[in-house]
């Protein structure tokens, strides 16, 4: 894994403020539909990056929580109408689901590949089930699950307390940005706390943490549930953006994509996964507009090359490179100074 405690607990407030200002001012120069989607993807990547990069838990089915969030929001908003409770449920339901799955795995000491298989299979079950829910028999309250066609035309997000004032377009962009920045701060808060440090300890050496008296399964289950909740939030925001949810939110491709964003952006950082999601998301949108090169061909090639050449991802590689550069500059400065000193000595002679 990556170097120890990479940026844990430090928020560079000046960078954060500058970045937030940039995001807030973006609608002045650009349309907001695509940036909204990219921000949602960034949030989804952040939720996996936190769990994988800092606690060392790689889920091959992170789409399960994304999809659960999307479906929960759609079903609840059909039944409740007002969108505040559905949005909360869309975080809570995936969180509880993740807690159950996580507890089952971590108290059973399941890790690595086996964890990968179980998370993958859980997502697959959800996908198969949702695909088969066509017809009137499958309905929850007022919401028909709709099988392959999904759930269209559910009430979208509204101003809390006022069901008639819907949020879309640029205001919705600000809602998503607020969620993204809030989640980032939450992740930083977690990583700066004792809990976060214990998680990094587990990533580095699980047996040692266990022997030091930490309850490893409980800690892992907790972070798994939190990241499931964040993934659910991303899913609910996505449902609001797309205004339809289909079983494809549970697809293998969705799980694969977020893994690729995280690893390309950089494992063991929080900014890396978000940057990876935005850049590869833009690439995906650009590739989607033309037909000559297949999207998955390019994504696959990128993933292979990154794993082979820069296994830690771009952000850590960049930091390491910058570190080397600074070192080099310091060395050069030092060398220049000593040469000058030697010249002075010579002149003095």
């Amino acid at each position: 894994m990556t170097g120890s405690g990479f940026g844990v607990g430090r928020i560079r407030w000046n960078w954060f403020a500058a970045f937030a200002a940039l995001l807030v001012l973006l609608p002045l120069v650009s349309e907001t539909n695509t940036p909204t989607l990219l921000a949602i993807w960034a949030l989804f990547a952040l939720s996996l990056g936190l769990m994988w990069g800092y606690a060392g838990i790689l889920s091959f089915g992170h789409a399960a929580y994304f999809g659960l969030g999307a479906y929960t929001y759609a079903i609840a908003s059909f039944n409740i109408g007002e969108s505040t409770v559905p949005l909360l449920l869309a975080v809570l339901v995936p969180m509880v689901f993740a807690a159950i799955i996580g507890a089952m795995m971590f108290y059973g000491r399941i890790s690595d590949v086996y964890l990968g298989v179980i998370t993958l299979v859980v997502t697959l079950i959800l996908n198969r089930f949702m695909n088969a829910t066509a017809g009137d028999a499958y309905r929850i309250g007022n919401a028909r699950l709709g099988g392959f066609n999904g759930i269209p035309a559910f009430p979208i997000l509204n101003v809390p307390g006022e069901p008639d004032v819907q949020i879309f377009g640029t205001p919705y962009y600000y809602v998503v940005i607020a969620c993204l920045l809030g989640s980032y701060l939450l992740a930083r808060l977690i990583l700066g706390s004792k809990f976060g440090r214990a998680l990094v300890g587990i990533r580095e050496n699980e047996a040692r943490m266990e022997l030091l008296g930490y309850n490893v399964p409980a800690l892992k289950t907790a972070i798994f549930a939190i990241c499931g909740g964040l993934g659910g939030l991303a899913g609910a925001l996505f449902a609001n953006w797309a205004e339809i949810v289909t079983p494809s939110v549970f697809s293998l491709g969705q799980s694969a994509e977020v893994i690729i964003w995280v690893i390309v952006g950089g494992l063991g950082t929080l900014v890396g996964p978000m940057i990876g999601a935005v850049l590869l998301g833009m690439l995906k949108i650009a590739l989607g507009m033309q037909t000559s090169i297949d999207n998955s061909l390019v994504l696959g090639a990128i993933l292979i090359l990154v794993v082979l050449l820069i296994p830690s991802g771009f952000a850590p590689a960049f930091v390491a490179w910058r570190g080397r550069l600074l070192q080099l500059q310091a060395y050069r400065r030092h060398a220049r100074r000593s040469t000058r000193r030697r010249l002075h000595l010579k002149e003095a002679e």
Partner: protein, 288 residues
């Protein structure tokens, strides 16, 4: 009576299907502890190789039993040399790289063959059991799988190559000290595993229409069969294929195929939770 015969045949077919698509993955995982997530795409490539060569006028049995394994074996060799060999001992990285490969191959096949289904007719006609019409080709698949598993078991158990392979499985360093190059063994193993995946794809090609994304349908099933099977290649695959195939079909007959598949997947989760080392990590420990 007829109905029972039909159900039994369908169960047998499902078991054979699972064992067939898992054989290649089982060899690679059992011997090298490498999870090849592009396995489904290898199967898919075998299918395309079969259909393309049978459209070119080659006898379909030659195409599926000979050409498909050779083509996919060659692809496997290439993949091992270019990607997998740099990642030995890094399980998660291997999974990620082969996942990338699976996307790459899907994209490549889409580019070459287009995103439309291709198929060949089954070369064996159906037959009747009482009122039920059965696919005759299913029997052929059951026979091929039985022969394949028997062959794998014989090779691993009774030949010198098999002995070295089993040795490498138990302790690669010891085998290396005895003068066998583990790198060569791994390379050959991966190639053989890929060839078997190609064979599976070729044999299954006449049953279903093929799409570039067909690999996704195989990977999850092969994956759970192999991982829950555990380290023993033949015994593990056979046990879990038998278990999953039976559960899948019995539940399917009792309700719907979707519920059957969900029951199979849920069973896999339960088994993995109870036996994280796989079934053969707990039972039949000294089997092959």
């Amino acid at each position: 009576m007829d109905y029972i015969a039909v159900v039994l045949l369908e169960i047998l077919y499902m078991i054979a299907f699972l064992a067939l698509i898992s054989a290649g993955l089982a060899i690679v995982f059992g011997m090298m502890r490498v999870i090849n997530l592009a396995h489904g795409e290898f199967v898919m490539l075998g299918g395309y190789a079969t259909i393309a060569s049978s459209k070119a006028g080659i006898n379909i049995y030659v195409a599926m039993l000979l050409i498909a394994p050779i083509v996919v074996g060659a692809v496997g060799l290439l993949v091992e040399r270019l990607i997998v060999r740099f990642l030995y001992g890094r399980m998660i990285d291997t999974m990620l790289a082969t996942w990338g490969l699976s996307l790459l191959l899907t994209g490549l096949v889409t580019l070459i063959f287009g995103n439309t289904a291709v198929s060949v007719p089954a070369p064996i006609p159906g037959y009747q059991i009482g009122r039920y019409q059965m696919g005759g080709y299913n029997l052929f698949i059951i026979a091929v799988t039985a022969l394949l598993l028997l062959g794998m078991w014989m090779v691993l158990r009774y030949t010198r190559v098999g002995l070295i392979a089993r040795g490498a499985m138990l302790g690669a360093d010891i085998v290396s000290a005895l003068g066998h190059n583990p790198r060569t063994i791994y390379m050959l193993t991966f190639t053989v595993g890929a060839a078997l995946s190609g064979l599976a794809g070729g044999v299954l090609a006449p049953l279903t229409g093929l799409l570039p994304s067909s690999g996704g349908a195989y990977i999850a099933k092969a994956f759970i069969t192999v991982i829950t099977g555990g380290a023993s290649v033949v015994a593990g695959t056979l046990t879990t294929a038998g278990l999953f195939g039976t559960v899948n079909q019995v539940v399917s007959f009792a309700s719907t195929p979707v519920v059957g598949e969900i029951a199979m997947l849920a069973l896999a989760i339960v088994l993995l939770r109870l036996m994280p080392q796989g079934v053969t990590g707990r039972f039949f420990r000294n089997s092959t």
